[in-house]
């Protein structure tokens, strides 16, 4: 079976600073991969390289067997029309009301009529626990957690077959986080979407993931089914999932 997405030795540096030193990971169709790792290890950069928002310096990225590492123009557009992305900082368009944010991909990307798109937008908003009264508000009038959920509704509005979620539950209360986790899992289980998510929250990992990959110092140091995460035999993974300060992962803090 060809992987839905396949990364081979992807490298990315900013100036002299190497962020990705050779990331290799596969995601099969219908799989839900969760990338874990400390903050600043390059998880968001990995997603942006796949999307083409950043261009990888080396290595290759394939989607359904076709190389998209340096794709531009129509080729890139064809790939982007199949994906949905939730940005870490929500990235809502602050000049548009909530419903137009959610409907943006339908109206601008697919040319759907505004009235029809609004109906879809209201359905998607309901799916993330937001009522129709929110639809007419502007993003600046929402709390951080609500913005995150609107952004999630926007990412799934076109029912894309590949989904990217950058910290979908950060800033949400535990109950709403669980609602969102279920929503993401349903997308994969019921609609057959393929998902790559980033999260720090181990409860999310266990709920969303079918497969987990841990990013450390620019490489995937462990990758396996979520069931094996507690017996990975990898000291780095153990330290991360138990959130211990002492272990092989050295935080760049100095005792003052």
């Amino acid at each position: 079976m060809t992987a839905k997405l396949s990364l081979r030795d992807v490298t990315k540096s900013f100036g002299s600073k190497t962020v990705l030193a050779g990331v290799t990971v596969d995601v099969q169709p219908g799989e839900s991969l969760v990338i874990i790792g400390g903050s600043g290890t390059g998880k968001s950069v990995t997603l942006k390289c796949i999307l083409g928002l950043l261009e990888a310096d080396g290595g290759s990225i394939h989607c359904d067997g076709r190389e998209i590492t340096h794709a531009r123009g129509a080729e890139r557009a064809a790939f982007l029309s199949r994906i949905g992305m939730l940005f870490q900082g929500a990235a809502l368009f602050d000049s548009l009301p909530v419903w137009q944010n959610v409907a943006f991909g339908l109206i601008q990307g697919r040319g759907m009529a505004a009235l029809e798109a609004k109906d879809v937008a209201l359905t998607k908003l309901a799916a993330v626990g937001l009522g129709p009264e929110v639809a007419a508000l502007f993003p600046s009038e929402l709390s951080g957690g609500m913005q995150k959920r609107v952004s999630l509704a926007r990412a799934i509005a076109t029912d894309p077959e590949i989904l990217f979620f950058d910290e979908p539950t950060t800033g949400l209360d535990p109950i709403m986080a669980d609602v969102i986790n279920s929503l993401i899992r349903d997308r994969v289980d019921d609609l057959g979407a393929t998902a790559i998510s980033i999260t720090h929250d181990m409860a999310s990992v266990r709920k969303i993931a079918t497969k987990v990959a841990m990013l450390y110092q620019g490489r995937i140091i462990w990758c396996g089914p979520v069931e094996e995460i507690d017996h990975s035999g990898n000291a780095f993974v153990d330290q991360f999932i138990h959130g211990r300060a002492d272990g092989p992962i050295r935080m760049a803090v100095r005792a003052g």
Binding site: L53, A77, G89, A91, D94
Partner: protein, 257 residues
């Protein structure tokens, strides 16, 4: 050697910046003329740029016309050539001051706003989000602003010309004891189509430059609120310098020997 190094570095930096602007301008203009064209966005920008600039541009033109009349009157009185006031006012306004002052005012008002808005969208990843929603940010954000600014500067400067001439007339009639109809007749017989047209061509060019600089600096801003601030400043400064530089070039092209 030591002296030449900084000069060389500055020249290289200037060339690099010119290249980057050129690489931005090509696709930006391409998106202005290729479908889909966002008419509604263009219309909204035209109202924003043109209509809401009317007060500031109008006031600037009014006072400039008034000062022109006053200054040229006191100057020409030494040669007993006071009659030329009307000519000086209409010529200066249409050829030079109308387009340049309107251009500088719009650079401060609109160029800055464009850089700030697009820059904020850049640093909050809204531009990346546009891309992932199958919308080309150049086409959606940049092209409507450039088209609108280029088009709307023409009527804006025409208004500035008229208001400026009226300012000169006001001072001449109320303070300098000119005959109202003689003054206006002088103005109309003296002004030539080329004077007005050259000014309006300048207007379109300046509108293009202001929006291009606003979009370019906004689009390439990075590093949070501070980066957006820098982008805004750079947009206004570079647009202003380019306006004055192109003003000379265009004047030389139209009227140069």
């Amino acid at each position: 050697m030591v002296l030449l190094q900084p000069i060389g570095r500055a020249v290289l930096a200037l060339l690099a910046a010119t290249g980057r602007v050129a690489l931005f301008t090509g696709p930006a203009v391409g998106h202005c003329v290729s479908p889909p064209i966002y008419w509604r966005a263009i219309l909204r920008q035209m109202v924003d740029i043109g209509f809401y600039s009317l007060p500031v541009v109008g006031l600037t033109a009014l006072f400039t016309g008034m000062v022109l009349a006053l200054q040229s009157y006191t100057g020409f009185a030494r040669f007993n050539a006071e009659g030329a006031v009307a000519n000086v006012v209409v010529l200066s306004m249409t050829r030079e001051l109308g387009p340049v002052l309107a251009g500088l005012m719009v650079a401060g008002r609109v160029g800055a706003a464009m850089a700030a808005e697009i820059g904020t969208m850049r640093v909050t990843e809204q531009i990346d989000a546009l891309t992932t929603l199958s919308t080309n940010p150049m086409k959606y954000l940049v092209a409507p602003r450039i088209v609108a600014a280029t088009l709307v500067m023409v009527p804006l400067v025409l208004v500035a010309d008229i208001v400026g001439v009226m300012g000169g007339w006001l001072v001449s009639v109320t303070k300098l004891n000119f005959n109202s109809s003689t003054y206006l007749l002088n103005t109309l017989t003296f002004v030539q189509t080329m004077d007005v047209v050259s000014g309006l061509v300048k207007a379109a060019v300046f509108g293009f430059v202001v929006s291009l600089m606003g979009c370019y600096h906004g689009f390439n801003s990075r590093g949070g609120a501070r980066g957006v601030g820098t982008a805004t400043t750079n947009a206004v400064v570079s647009a202003s310098i380019l306006i004055l530089l192109l003003d000379y070039v265009l004047t030389a092209m139209f009227f140069g020997a």
